[in-house]
């Protein structure tokens, strides 16, 4: 994993999408993912996080630029139009 430049893909999305997004990440061949609960505000209004599905999740995947691109492209096509969604990547250096 260490030779190539790796990216961290961060996806913030409505909590109801958690299982669907995770399945996609595994299908695309990621080596792992990390999920946490968040709340927030954006174009789709306020996500208070009072209850599970009224909040957001943050899904993070460390992978090759190619993998991150593929995942982001897929999510953009399928979910951006109808769901709260924010995606960005940043360069990281793996330490293990």
């Amino acid at each position: 994993m260490q030779s190539e430049q790796m990216l961290l893909l961060t996806v913030v999305a409505e909590a109801i999408l958690e299982d669907i997004l995770i399945d996609e990440v595994r299908r695309q061949g990621a080596a792992g993912y990390t999920v946490s609960d968040t709340r927030g505000w954006g174009k789709h209004g306020k996500r208070r996080g009072n209850w599970r599905q009224g909040g957001n999740i943050k899904l993070e995947v460390v992978g090759s630029p190619d993998l991150c691109d593929r995942i982001a492209k897929q999510f953009k096509e399928q979910y951006e139009a109808d769901y709260g969604l924010l995606m960005f990547t940043s360069p990281v250096t793996l330490k293990n």
Partner: protein, 315 residues
């Protein structure tokens, strides 16, 4: 009118929300309270069911289901052509109003308990049955005239194995199998505390609803009026059906309340997956911000009064 103290907890929550208090029910507690209520209602119904006969329930059950299926079919054209709302939103809102609210049902149960009025144990079976069909109808209404595959598998899974149905039906079966005697040691938890938990849940509902009222206001008067008139119409259907089926006064009130109530746990989850184009703020805003408080403060007493009036004629 002397309000049951539980609905005052809703008021307290709404005040806290409107006053932007720092009072917050943690998400984990909200989830736990809703799990408790679903289970307890199921267990309660199961125990009552264990004492009644099942076969004579099949025909009335079908009637209750059929009339229940009319509600979203009635709501949809009103929303679409009277309200000029997009197809997806009309379908989603229709599904919410065709489905049912466990907490509104619970408030009506508490209303009866406070007056010492009994009701048929199988009402909880109707509650379970009524939760689903409206969701399917809503999805079909949303699909008509559009193309592309609907995620049926995912959606049906969401509905059948969603926690609402699962806990209600699970509790029902456990209560039924165990019967009143074996359930005895579980009573302090699932029966004695029921109204207290309901009060705490209503506190949270008030907090949430207060934020939804502001949102629904954006969408104009039509939706607010719909969110008040629709439940009354549905309740009247319920009262007439209950009376026609020869149900008890209490049972008829519960049926009217079921029809009048709008879902905000199972429906939003299912609709978000199956009808992504529908704006969830609209449907939750109407059902939670308007219909829910209307029902618990005015609706239930009104339906009770109407039922009593009808039954005093018939008797």
């Amino acid at each position: 009118m002397a309000f049951d103290p539980v609905v005052l907890f809703f008021l307290l929550g709404a005040i806290a929300g409107l006053a932007k208090s720092d009072l917050k029910i943690p998400m984990a507690i909200y989830e736990a309270l809703s799990i408790y209520l679903l289970l307890a209602i199921g267990l309660h119904g199961g125990v009552k069911l264990a004492e009644s006969e099942l076969v004579p329930l099949i025909l009335p059950g079908l009637a209750v289901l059929t009339v229940g299926a009319l509600i979203p079919l009635l709501a949809f054209p009103v929303l679409r052509w009277l309200g000029h709302m997009p197809r997806a939103d009309s379908a989603s809102i229709a599904a919410h109003y065709g489905s049912v609210s466990v907490v509104t049902f619970s408030v009506a149960v508490a209303f009866l308990a406070a007056r010492g009025i009994d009701y048929e144990g199988h009402m909880v079976v109707f509650l379970v049955l009524l939760e689903m069909p409206a969701l399917v109808i809503g999805i079909l209404l949303a699909r008509m005239g559009t193309k592309g595959p609907v995620q049926w598998g995912k959606t049906m899974h969401e509905v059948f194995f969603g926690k609402s149905i699962l806990l209600l039906a699970g509790g029902l079966v456990i209560g039924f199998v165990a019967g009143p005697e074996l359930m005895d040691p579980l009573e302090p938890m699932f029966f004695d505390l029921f109204k207290g938990v309901l009060a705490l849940f209503l506190l949270e509902m008030g907090l949430v609803a207060s934020s939804r009222i502001a949102e629904v206001r954006q969408y104009g008067l039509f939706l607010v009026v719909f969110a008040i008139v629709m439940p009354v119409v549905s309740a009247i259907l319920g009262i007439l059906l209950g009376w026609g089926l020869g149900m008890s006064l209490g049972g008829t009130l519960l049926l009217a309340t079921l029809y009048a109530s709008a879902s905000y746990i199972a429906a939003p989850a299912a609709m978000r997956i199956a009808v992504p184009k529908a704006n969830p703020a609209l449907s939750i805003g109407a059902s939670l911000g308007v219909t829910f408080p209307f029902n618990i403060f005015l609706g239930v007493p009104l339906y009770f009064w109407m039922t009593q009036w009808l039954y005093s004629l018939g008797g």
